[in-house]
Symmetry: C2
């Protein structure tokens, strides 16, 4: 349980498989989940599993793009494809001393227009 | 140069200090920088340093929130404070075989309204 990469990969495998017991097994009893963009927060393992199970209605699937772990920290990128199409999700994690996920910061960056004045410095794709 | 955490921390130290030679020293000659939200792209060390130097006019400062590195991958969170206030920036990196930064995906998540239907599963902060 000490390898943050494996723990985070296991977290996403559990979510992707809707394996709620497996998800509960990799998060700390006092896990804290936050969405900094909406200022939503969920505290505690049971509430977090319930949120993940019930907070994303409709059909969806997840693909893991990348996972990186170091010490008690980690990050991931996923593609969440729900009824409104694919969205990229970015998470930053910390682990506790037992190797369980203690905090999750979950980000959903949306498209925006490029800032004015730097078009000569970039290309578009 | 092989430690991705140190390379990414050095990248941000150089940007924060406007040390453009130091920034050039940690990115690969063929570095590829992308902003997935705007679909902006910059290719090559010189163009990337020029973009970083000239693409953010006005006064600004950077604080590094967290860096995580593993193998040839890494991620960071920073607070960029410019003339319109603080913004959180998230980056995902890959390194090449020489330990230089090969790709940068730069995200700027903005606040949004919480999705309907899950208010009973979360608190707000």
């Amino acid at each position: 349980m000490g390898d943050p990469h494996a723990v985070i990969a296991g977290y996403w495998s559990a979510v992707a498989a809707r394996d709620w017991d497996g998800l509960a097994a990799v998060v700390a009893p006092d896990v804290r989940y936050e969405v900094p963009q909406t200022r939503e927060r969920v505290r505690g393992r049971d509430a977090f599993v319930r949120f993940t199970r019930d907070g994303f209605p409709g059909d969806w699937r997840i693909e893991i793009s990348s996972v990186v772990g170091e010490g008690r920290m980690g990050a991931s990128r996923i593609i969440f494809t729900g009824e409104s199409g694919p969205e990229e999700g970015l998470c930053f994690f910390t682990l506790d001393g037992d190797g369980l996920i203690a905090t999750i910061a979950d980000y959903w960056p949306e498209p925006y227009e490029p800032p004015a004045g730097r078009g000569h410095l970039v290309e578009r794709y």
